[in-house]
Amino acid sequence: MNLSNLFRIAWRALNKNKMRAFLTMLGIIIGVASVIAMLAIGEGSKRSIEKQISEMGTNMIMIMPYDNKAVGGVRMSASNIQTLKIKDYEDIRNKAQYVKEVSPYVSSGGQFIYQNNNYPASISGVAPSYLEIRQLKMKSGHMFTDSDVKRYNKVCVIGKTIADNLFTKGEDPVGKIIRFNTVPFQVIGVLESKGYNSMGMDQDEIVLAPYTAVQKRILAIDYLHGIYCSAESEDLAPKAVESITQILAKNHNISNPDDYDFEIRSQEELSKMLTSTSDMMSILLACVAGISLLVGGIGIMNIMYVSVTERIKEIGLRMSVGAREKDILMQFLIESILISITGGLIGVIFGFFSSYGVKFFAGWPVFIEPWSVALSFVVCSAIGIFFGWYPARKAAGLDPIEALRYE
């Protein structure tokens, strides 16, 4: 049979009942639009969480000392556990696989003083690679170098919060001498502002100095408070963790994982936890939207069913002028597919508008995934076929004599 003729027939039939066709479409329009908007909201929140995590450095791995003598005895705070040594840092740097950058970490709290301003914060002793690991950027001046580390130089780079609180008269901090408690440090750079992170912590309240200087000139210790690494990529982070674990276990001569005196955490765990929450929300939203799409589909079936009953005489006539069963079947199927696809198209447009409406009015992050548009489109075509089939079958099965006589 000539398919273009069948399309023309179905199109004419729909045109006779524009209002009804539109109302039927409305169910599909709302269904598709809500699927797209809901998925966009879900995806948007997921992406904004991911973005915040990646700002912290998605491939970051933290190694902290761990008190494995959990039962009995005096438990110590992490900064007093002396299990992580410079050798561990050097071994990770030289031997660990999939690890890109490594930096030791020591820190000490105290008061920063410049002229008559002071501000309480902690100083972090790190290697120059820390900048890359934490995805920090210099705003002015420069980062200290490996030779500063070697020479225990008392230089530092400071974050915006520190700069704002110490240099209240708008001076350029670079080149000035500030004191940490009693120890003078020369400011050689200012970091670009990162604002608050997703936990509400000020990421600009930061002072970085060579870890050797902090170890020897402030704390007088030879162990580390932690080691920060970056994996070559986010995907390789678990392998990097494995490799680091092997090195540390060998260095510390521990074979049983329960006895490890260190703890390795990757950003992946954190991001998994946060995205699983938003994933759950996405699924929930998609379910709600999916149900409305289903209801829209049942609406199509309902209308097509009524429309078959209403048009029994017309079907009889079509049969009498030579329409075969499959022509009638195809006509009604095409009608329902046209309704659902047109509704789907309008729904996609409405979905875009409502997604950006949500972004504009509620300020929620939204992101429309191309696959969500494709999915809802495929689903509504399928709905058209699925829910149109039964009424179409009924129409095609009519006896022409009975149908012509039907009043």
């Binding site: 049979m1 000539n2 003729n5 023309r8 027939i9 004419r12 006779k16 005489k313 017309e314 009889g316 006539l317 079509r318 049969m319 009498s320 002028v321 030579g322 329409a323 075969r324 069963e325 499959k326 022509d327 022409p400 004599i401 012509l404």
Partner: protein
């Protein structure tokens, strides 16, 4: 006039199963109709004329007997083949017109050709316009069915029956819903079509109509009780003339 037989029925029987009883609607009907004949089939309700019409129109198949339509035997055809025969060889005209609601005259007339993939869009329109011109509705191509009078609707229906250039036109009480004047004008149209050598079968229970046709088959209880040729065929055009003039000018447009 050709002597070729368009329709040949031989001992047609049609039984219906109603509950446990078998109803014999047609009890052995045999006749043939030649090309270009204008035949009326008459009978009271229950005489089997509807059943016969359904069989003639390939909507139904006989329980036994043979039916040759334009040389091909219908009783051995499946549903799709019969649909094709209806599409190419038969034009139906119904009592209640059966036009698609809210649809223009031309779209209604195009309908049979829509189911014929051999006819292109341009040819379909051309033929629909020609058919509407035959029934004198060439100036109302785009009037919708619900804006037309009964007579106009029946003319559209006749145009629809003509558009596929059928072997036979089957009219089922085609004037049953129309007033006398309009009935005559429709009969006049049928007589004109007859003059152009179209084969017409007109099923009716109205005796008067029979006198406008050339042959009259009467059914009773599923059997043919008479099959006669009219000696004097009345002219519908003259009958229309004889009717008292209508005051209302608009009615004449019918």
């Amino acid at each position: 006039m050709g002597k070729r037989k368009i329709i040949e029925l031989t001992n047609i029987r049609r039984n219906f199963q109603v509950g446990t009883e078998t109803v014999h609607a047609l009890k052995g009907i045999s006749f043939s109709i030649e090309e270009g004949q204008f035949v009326t089939i008459m009978g009271k309700s229950g005489s089997g004329k509807s059943t016969l019409l359904n069989i003639l129109g390939c909507l139904d198949t006989p329980t036994s007997g043979t039916y040759l339509l334009d040389g091909s035997s219908v009783q051995s055809m499946n549903k799709d083949q019969r649909a094709r025969v209806r599409n190419r060889k038969i034009g139906f005209v119904f009592q209640n017109y059966n036009l698609l609601p809210n649809t223009t005259a031309i779209e209604n007339v195009e309908l049979p050709l829509m189911y014929n993939p051999d006819v292109s869009t341009s040819e379909r329109q051309k033929r629909a316009i020609e058919a509407l011109e035959i029934v004198e509705l060439g100036d109302r191509l785009y009037h919708k069915s619900n804006q037309m009078s009964g007579g106009q609707m029946q003319r559209v229906a006749i145009a629809r029956a003509l558009v596929n250039n059928p072997a036979v036109i089957l009219a089922d009480e085609a004037t049953g819903n129309l007033d006398t004047r309009t009935s005559y004008s429709i009969l006049k149209l049928f007589q004109e079509l007859h003059r152009e050598h179209r084969t017409i079968i007109f099923v009716t229970h109205n005796n008067e109509i029979a006198s406008f046709s050339e042959r009259n088959i009467v059914l009773r209880d599923g059997k043919i009780i008479s099959d006669t040729y009219n000696q004097t065929i009345l002219s519908a055009a003259e009958a229309l003339e004889r009717l008292p003039k209508e005051e209302n000018e608009e009615e004449k447009v019918i």
